[in-house]
Subunit: 455 residues, 2 copies
């Protein structure tokens, strides 16, 4: 498929150069709208309106919907006011909302002036829902029927309204006050007896979601129940719109990318890495780096407190990277497991006591293995006393590091913060500090070294 | 919804205790199959076959398909051979393949003995495709029509075969030799004129995928083209099966979880964290921890080489955690950004030169900021010479750490390994070693300290 696309793109460029518009039109006819949109965004800025102008009227809105907001806005500024009005008023409400929410306020106002009143009201309603809520993602274009209509009447109604609806694979049954009763696959209507009322079709209990709910919850419902379409209702169960499974894939991918970046202590980067400029990348990264430096300063302060012990036995420093990394890495593992399990809903906060017990067991076992592994080294570098010291220190540090890594995401969730903020670098730094303290305290106690106070 | 489920579960347990099977049956009638399956897996082992037995025959197979392989296998051992045969032969081919691929060989053979010959052949065909290939995920149940059939004939055919098909929202048009021609939404048939041949319906070019291709590619096609169903073909374009969008959400989530766990240096954990036992968690974690200990040993060896410098100026150790963490954290950030961008197809390997240039710019800027931040501290602890040392060292270490973090995923991809193996702990450890070396070498050079050889 991708080779096809490269081929299309080369041909579009050639035809533009030769100004062969009839053949360009033929070529575009063969292409899918997503590929046309993708190709437009790879052309030079001046070429975009020329290619867009050759599209048949019916496909313009579809292609436009697949452009990114930046290109959408540019294109709107280049077409006639009449065409801009046509495009904006034909766009599906959720696509229009997505465009408006990415633009600065004065440009939103400029665009709204182009829109018919009905479309403005609809767009403003959707923009009124909280960010990342179901209301922002839903489309208000769906087909609904009444329970007392016959199958024949319903199919006629569906035929009539199908063009406006984003999907007619699922038909909603509502009462006269638009309360949601059922969601029936189109298949049932096709397979049903023509003269039966809709109420006679077999219907499973309907799953729906409130427009104020989080998009991630919609994704979970759709995934759990294998739904194609999820109806969106208000507090009184009045049907407001629908969310389709393809909207949700994008939500899942976006949320995962956010979690990923947080886990690596990068600020949320919604732009693609390819397109992000140097200043943006700098801003997204420097904050966390400075926070972590401040945190690791504590490690330095603790070391300064043990300067006399280090001067007395400099071989202690040899094991410092090992001890620090052991605790940090074990913590990184357990926080990674925990953050992901919380994100996919695999564990819940109320499980924490049982998880804590198991993590204690796992981390003691891990710590003992690693303690044994490094004790041989300790013996070689510093004799039996040092061997005992590094074995015990490693066991303690790995155990404590693991528990820190597991608890931090849980504590953040309790504080209603995103557990992914318990990033690997943060957990590693926290485990480092605890590790340094444990290691040198043990050294002073076990090896009778001089203990200096903190600086 | 979730409160509903908790409520259902409590009621099932009560009804089982009171042995009130008629009311249990009524309750199950109200529940969705996914919730029944979910509830079954939360009951005690002896209760599962009792609840399963009260299900109407038609729902048994559906509920069974949503159990995890462990519960599926246990249940099969507890029902009669006739019932097991019924369930296995009615399961959709992709669900059956998923069950068989998770079982050990001798249990697969035991189950295959229960199956009718046709089902065995089908299951073995699917199992013949490589792991994680589209062939393993597809179902062979779909509805296809011929281009010369009329809409009326086609709808009759669809009605007849709809029950077997996993979805009839998309109908495939094939020639007599089963070559894929078109994929048409059911909506087109409902809206079309009854006497027209199928060939007259408007059809976009069809997007398909080879059965040998990777599941992640299928996910990308479905996502890019907003498809509900993706047809699967062989080398000769013969239609073999279909993949639906809900299969793909699970693939996206699974792949992401794998990437996530790899980034935290945990072995692939396909089981849920909630259900994973202590020994399994130990095994998945200890390997990487030991590898990382071995790597960090190098840091210790480098330190040992500078023991004389440390003895001469013990304040150097004070800055060690800061320098180490600075490089490691910057590396963690850039590897996280890179791994995710490669996973979602946002950047490609051929972009690396441009990315490398930008990363160099970003990391020098980050390094300078952090170098300045710690130099004040260096002045306070050790005078102007130490201030200059830590500023230069921090700048270099952050720059090198970032570049290591960005290059490692690219190199792994070139070597045809999963870039997510360049986990945060691995990158951190690699950056640590380089950081220690840079820091102490600079110290010896700038401050004229005694330089000992490696031990």
């Amino acid at each position: 498929m991708e080779n096809d696309f490269e081929h299309y793109l080369i041909e579009i460029r050639e035809l533009l150069e030769r100004e062969d518009l009839p053949r360009l039109r033929d070529l575009l006819d063969l292409m899918r709208i997503q590929d046309i949109a993708h190709a437009l965004m790879m052309l030079e800025e001046v070429q975009i309106p020329r290619v867009f102008a050759t599209l048949p009227r019916g496909r313009k809105v579809d292609v436009f919907s697949y452009l990114d907001p930046h290109h959408q806005y540019q294109l709107l500024a280049q077409v006639s006011a009449a065409e801009a009005r046509h495009i904006l008023s034909e766009m599906l409400p959720d696509d229009l909302t997505a465009l408006l929410e990415d633009l600065p306020g004065d440009e939103v106002r400029r665009l709204l002036r182009l829109l018919p009143f009905r479309a403005i009201r609809r767009a403003l309603t959707l923009l009124g829902y909280p960010e990342d809520s179901v209301g922002r993602l839903m489309t208000t274009e769906f087909v609904s029927v009444r329970p007392d209509w016959t199958i024949t009447d319903s199919l006629a109604h569906i035929r009539e309204h199908a063009e406006r609806g984003e999907t007619v694979n699922v038909i909603f049954v509502t009462d006269e006050d638009r309360h949601l009763l059922h969601a029936l696959p189109l298949k049932r209507f096709v397979l049903g007896r023509a003269s039966d009322p809709v109420a006679k079709l077999p219907a499973a209990p309907v799953v729906s979601i409130n427009a104020q709910a989080d998009q991630a919850d919609a994704a979970r419902l759709i995934q759990h129940y294998d739904l194609e379409v999820l109806p969106v209702v208000d507090e009184e169960n009045i049907l407001l719109g629908i969310i389709t499974v393809d909207d949700v894939i994008d939500v899942v991918e976006e949320e995962t990318t956010e979690d990923f970046h947080k886990m690596g202590s990068v600020g949320m980067l919604t732009l693609s890495l390819r397109d992000a400029g140097l200043p943006l990348l700098y801003r997204k990264r420097i904050g966390w780096l400075l926070v972590l430096v401040a945190l690791n300063l504590l490690g330095g302060v603790i070391i300064a407190g043990f300067e006399e012990a280090i001067e007395a036995l400099v071989v202690l420093v040899f094991f410092l990277p090992l001890i620090i990394a052991g605790g940090g890495n074990a913590g990184a593992q357990s926080s990674t497991l925990m953050v992901r399990a919380l994100a996919v809903g695999d564990v819940e906060i109320k499980d924490w006591l049982r998880l804590w017990g198991r993590e204690l067991g796992v981390s003691i076992a891990l710590g003992l293995t690693m303690g044994l592994a490094v004790s041989a080294l300790g013996f070689w570098r510093g004799g039996s006393e040092v061997a005992v010291l590094v074995a015990i220190a490693m066991t303690l540090v790995v155990t404590v590091g693991s528990l820190v890594g597991m608890m931090l995401p849980i504590i953040l969730t309790r504080l209603r913060m995103d557990p992914a903020t318990a990033s690997v670098p943060l957990v590693t730094s926290a485990a480092d500090i605890v590790g340094i303290l444990i290691y040198f305290s043990l050294a002073v106690a076990l090896l009778n070294l001089p203990a200096g106070g903190l600086p």
